[in-house]
């Protein structure tokens, strides 16, 4: 399976994700986060977007035979998250991913992957940009 440089523009749809406290609690414990003075989290941690925004779509990218990424030689190079407003527990976010750009230089593939999360009104409330770097075979 070889990498397809014409994959730019490929979109992936994730299933709607509920920002529930149980799943957030497991995430918060894993990253060592402490709740505020009230003893519970006021709102979901921003990096919880890794769970409800990225992970419903990134595995689709990694497993897409039409893209042909060599995930054994893939590194996560950069990550950005941005939000239009503070999100709340019990909201549902619908994630979508897009291969925005591909660069090949010095034997490496640089894949720019964008995600958007829409709320119940279909407004985009969360965005992610991931840069994945893959070493090309010699």
């Amino acid at each position: 399976m070889s990498f397809n440089p014409d994959c730019v523009g490929t979109r992936y749809q994730g299933t709607p994700q509920l920002l529930d406290r149980d799943r957030h609690g497991a995430y918060a414990e894993a990253v060592g986060a402490s709740p505020g003075s009230e003893g519970e989290f006021i709102r979901p941690l921003a990096c919880f977007a890794a769970v409800y925004l990225l992970w419903p779509v990134v595995p689709q990218l990694f497993q897409d035979p039409e893209v042909g990424l060599d995930v054994e030689h893939l590194l996560h190079g950069e990550q950005e998250f941005s939000f239009e407003r503070p999100l709340a527990f019990d909201e549902t976010i619908e994630p979508q991913g897009l291969i925005a750009q591909v660069d090949r230089r010095r034997g490496m593939i640089f894949l720019d992957f964008r995600c958007e999360g829409r709320d119940a009104s279909q407004a985009v409330v969360a965005r992610a940009r991931s840069l994945f770097v893959v070493k090309e075979p010699k």
Partner: protein
Amino acid sequence: MSRNPGLDHFPPLLGEGPPERRRKVNQAVIAAYAEASGDHNPIHLDRDYAQRAGLPDTIAHGLLTLGTACAGVEGWASERAWVARISCRFSRPVRSGEELTCTAQVTEVGEGAAVLELAALTSPEERALTKTKVELRTLVES
């Protein structure tokens, strides 16, 4: 891990930030993150697989490292501000068993917003993250 004393004013002052946090990222932590996030890539969970990939041991997920670094900022600021933007570069994988030392301080203050630069180190010379910034915005509209 002790609870951080929180930010009680906004905007924060230049140079302010949450207390330094240290956290050992052992295999139990990595496994807990894999379960919580759904990322079960064997490079994080299977030592033999990681060694076949040329690594000395399993490595933490990049987003576990980022989440650990950002958790201190959010714990510190969450009653006064929300996180509007996070950006980072993963410069070095964190190996199972390494200890992360995370610091953050305010480097820019604007109208209703502040930016902190974060550091996450596995030793004084080795940075797991570089170019890591968190933008806070006040919860109270001016």
